[in-house]
């Protein structure tokens, strides 16, 4: 794992009284973005928070990219639709192109640097590059790159801890998921470790 590759954002302060955050994650269909989005929202719900999850939908369109948006708050969520999310998790180049312009100014962009080869262009955002494929591979399987990204995200936006995600994982996805729990949680931890490590911050705005 090339820890030096890591570029991470400063810790986002989570105000527990008026908690409100949202994020969009995007990549190829099959990269498991929908999965981590649901997992995050479900775990947050189990932690007593208000949540909403909106996918890009439609098997009527084959190929292309998939994305979803999660809102987490401790008050009822008015709009579940977010044009300019506070955070982005991006897993491929087309998604970067599509979503970077929409990231809120001052927001954080998490990219899987193994697949996102184009550089981010905006200067008013923080970029956290995670070599998620490699990290996942080291955890035991490239498929878990999504969990690496989730780990990296939650390490920064500390709304849920690992045990809450683990609980959510088992609870929501059931016995089928249990088989892959170890791999996924390991990937999650490595991703989190990545964020927590003392890292180069690219805060240019």
């Amino acid at each position: 794992m090339k820890q030096q590759q890591l570029e991470c954002a400063a810790n986002t302060a989570v105000d527990s009284r008026t908690l409100y955050t949202n994020l969009t994650m995007a990549g190829f269909g099959g990269q498991g973005l929908m999965f981590i989005g649901k997992l995050l929202a479900f775990s947050a719900m189990k932690a007593g928070l208000q949540v909403s999850w909106i996918p890009s939908y439609g098997p009527e369109m084959r190929g292309g990219t998939a994305n979803c948006t999660v809102v987490i708050a401790n008050e009822p969520i008015a709009s579940p639709v977010i044009r300019s999310p506070e955070t982005l998790i991006i897993m491929n180049n087309p998604s970067l192109e599509a979503f970077e312009p929409r990231l809120k100014s001052g927001g954080t962009l998490f990219v899987n640097s193994n697949l996102v080869t184009c550089p981010a262009t905006r200067k008013d955002i923080e970029v956290v590059a995670v070599p998620a494929d490699e990290v996942a591979q080291s955890a035991g399987g490239r498929k878990a790159a999504n969990m690496v990204m989730l780990g990296a995200y939650l390490a920064k936006v500390a709304i849920l801890d690992k045990s809450q995600i683990e609980y959510g994982f088992l609870e929501f996805f059931g016995s089928k998921a249990a088989q892959t729990l170890d791999l996924n949680m390991k990937a999650f931890s490595l991703g989190a470790a990545f964020s927590q490590a003392d890292c180069k911050t690219k805060k240019e705005s």
Binding site: F28, G63, N92, N93, L115
Partner: protein, 87 residues
């Protein structure tokens, strides 16, 4: 026909990565077993087929191309009569 000419390949295929989605059907279809799936992802997110064929085993049978759902393969065959020699 010189010794060298004999080693020249009789036929070859060209796989257009732009079209290929890495389904692998050509791999199974090739009687010469010379097509393989590459480990390099394309910009569309697929692992495309490739046909290195260093031993020039391709016969130009076109089976790979005929099963390809994405018309990603073109097949070239050495002209049967060598026009160059005749002319």
């Amino acid at each position: 026909m010189s010794e060298e000419k004999k080693k020249e390949r009789r036929a070859r295929i060209a796989i257009d990565e732009h079209f290929c989605k890495g389904c692998g059907l050509c791999v199974d279809a090739c009687p010469q077993h010379i097509i393989e799936i590459s480990s390099q992802v394309t910009s569309s997110g697929y692992y495309p087929a490739a046909c290195p064929d260093p031993q020039s085993k391709c016969t130009g049978c076109t089976l790979c191309a005929r099963v390809c759902p994405d018309v990603a393969i073109e097949v070239f065959v050495k002209q049967k009569t060598n026009h160059g020699e005749r002319e």
